[in-house]
Subunit: 216 residues, 2 copies
């Protein structure tokens, strides 16, 4: 949740619960603790409660923790062979990360479904149509408090993948179609055979299956 706030700046309680994959009531309890300890600030906006990191000091702290965590993950992956799956495809907060996240993002730009603008990635007309086929209404995300689309640093690829509300929606759509599966509480993504085929057809991705079988 703190990482999400660091990236997106301001998020509502419900959005944060989705990011953390926990019930709204649980998120509310955690946020109350974070408030009490002075790490996050709250601001009312209609029936929403918008949370953000209190100030730059907290941002620095989160950055520091993230940097150490990344370094630790990198060292761990260098030591054991298991995290191959982690490098292949994993969750980054609530969207695609690892090689799969990177390749998907690249493909979206290459096929002109996204283009770079001064303020970050933007959706083209073709892109909006593609998202619509996935059941995602891009315009709905523009009104959202949460940043709809941004670039998120990928530590293993040393490049960027998509983050923000739309990236999270894309992840959901992939899961709904059973292109990918994720074990509850874990971040390794299992790419199904169906997913391999679909991603080749949709985006021309040449990516192999990986990770252990996951029963849903």
């Amino acid at each position: 949740m703190l990482m999400s706030l660091r990236f997106d700046g301001v998020l509502s309680a419900t959005e944060l619960s989705a990011v953390a994959n926990i019930a709204p009531s649980t998120a509310s309890e955690h946020l109350a603790k974070l408030m009490a300890s002075g790490l996050v600030a709250r601001q009312k906006s209609g029936r929403h409660r918008l949370y953000s990191l209190t100030d730059g000091d907290v941002c620095d702290l989160v950055d520091g923790l993230a940097a150490l965590a990344e370094r630790h993950a990198a060292i761990a992956s260098a030591r054991s062979s298991f995290p191959q799956a982690l490098l292949h495809s994993r969750l980054c907060l609530d969207h695609l990360g690892g090689r799969l996240g990177y390749l998907t993002t690249n493909a979206l730009f290459a096929r002109n479904l996204l283009h770079h603008s001064a303020t970050g990635p933007e959706i083209t007309q073709e892109g909006a149509a593609w998202l619509n086929d996935l059941g995602i209404d891009a315009n709905a995300h523009l009104d959202n408090v949460r940043c709809p689309l941004r670039l998120c640093h990928d530590w293993s690829e040393k490049a960027y993948h998509l983050g923000g509300g739309i990236a999270a929606a894309i992840l959901s759509a992939f899961r709904q179609r059973d292109w990918i599966r994720v074990k509850r509480g874990e971040i390794v993504i299992f790419l199904t055979p169906k997913g391999v085929t679909a991603l080749r057809a949709e985006l021309g991705l040449d990516i192999r299956q990986s990770g252990d079988e996951v029963r849903t």
Copy 2:
């Protein structure tokens, strides 16, 4: 434990368990976890295992957490009236902090039991005698891995009090003589009437009793 390592640089497992007020076996478990997460490094030295923070990044992180914790404590104390006792006298890791720590330190310098040197505070001949009366052998601490004596920043007094192994020994001596009492698990120090008298006689301190009665 991380704070102690930040200040003292290198500490043995037993010293760290004393700092944290837990059994050596428990400390060992915690240190194993800190090792596994890459926050501390271990180095063998005879039958000792010396722990230290892995690098500057971890130091920065600890500093950042400490700064936030201090700010939070300051805000909390400004809001409620309870922490008066906290400002009066409290534990700072394993030595005296708050007004009591500050006044004690000042008195030791004023009475020429300590003097300032280029490398930090040093014990004078009279100081060694005074410590001896308390049952503390200053020379024994000089051979210790732990920094014997240093200045430690006091957030509430915005000044310095004594830290290090000898400061910890002084705290123990005060407790043994029942000049002060500390509830297990808490950091507020209760100054006994006996302590008020003794500190006036020993160091000329004009400090009042404070905190709630503590049964030992």
